[in-house]
Symmetry: C2
Subunit: 159 residues, 2 copies
DNA sequence: CGTCTCCTTGACGTTAACGTAAGATGCCGC
DNA sequence: GCGGCATCTTACGTTAACGTCAAGGAGACG
């Protein structure tokens, strides 16, 4: 019978974790340098425990929502202190709310920029219609652009 | 009678432009290094023409909407070629639309992150309510946070 | 024993848009 | 002649999160 790939006693090589979480050995070693991970050793080789894997999962989650490694480190430190208890949760909650506020502010910036750009596009289109309508991008070109963009995304995602 | 500060024949020192557009001499020299500006000289000193001022204005507008200096440079190069004519407008239009697509994608990322964070906040709050409600941030603390944030913004804006 | 593959450490490179001295020049008024 | 101010050039520093070699060890295979 096959070993359960996730049972708590299990250990992982660096490559196994990298494959599972789509990251590179360099990244894991970097996190270790920063004190976010402290895997055991077998001779020279790193041996990641189930707990290390859980920490890595938290690290990557934090990254996805835009937390810096330093901020993630603060949370993980508390994780060590009280083993995922109340203090860590309270700190995470604060960090999360701060991040939400920051992200909402960023989104406002983006919306402003989009509006400014749309105004600019309209101006340019008006002028081009008046002077050189032949230079206006055509619907076909736009479709082409979108298709290229989607192909790119699929390629990255598939590979 | 005072000289019109913006009449086309006017020239500007580096400091005057910096004051007007709230940037630093270092930034203007940097743009010059990158080929975005090419002011005349009076001896060693830079002398910015009305056209230079217009270019700077475009540079800063481009920055506000998130264009890189390299991209802004591409547009400005065309600006030189046909003096603000059709080719430049067509290129700007393309760049603007590309930027809009990129910004909308960024906004989706942000929205996803915000949702993920809100889910996380809810989970954490539930657990804290059950175990350590004393650690929950209170409404008063939240007001305090907002006030500090607003003060910061006003301070920056006013100064 | 040679080769292969995975692992290690160490250390420099990358990117963008400037910041920050350090040291020199030049003009103004006194 | 000198202090003070604006300007100049040159050139290294900053930040984040790794990427990219380089050089070397350890175990497995045939």
């Amino acid at each position: 019978m096959p070993t359960d790939l996730r049972r708590p006693q299990r250990t992982y090589t660096i490559r196994q974790l990298c494959l599972e979480f789509k990251c590179t050995p360099r990244a894991l070693r970097f996190y270790e340098d920063k004190g976010l991970l402290t895997p055991a050793r077998d001779g020279m080789n790193r041996v990641y425990s189930y707990k290390d894997r859980a920490r890595l999962k938290l690290i990557l989650q934090g990254k996805r929502v835009g937390l810096s490694l330093a901020e993630i480190g603060e949370i993980l430190d508390l994780y060590d202190l009280d083993d995922g208890g109340a203090a860590q949760m309270a700190k995470s909650l604060r960090k999360f709310k701060e991040r939400i506020v920051a992200l909402e502010s960023q989104r406002e910036d983006i919306d402003r920029a989009i509006n400014e750009l749309k105004v600019g596009c309209n101006n340019l289109e008006q002028k081009l219609i008046a002077t050189r309508p032949d230079l206006l991008p055509r619907a076909a070109d736009y479709d082409q652009m979108l298709r290229q963009r989607l192909d790119g995304v699929e390629h990255v995602g598939a590979k």
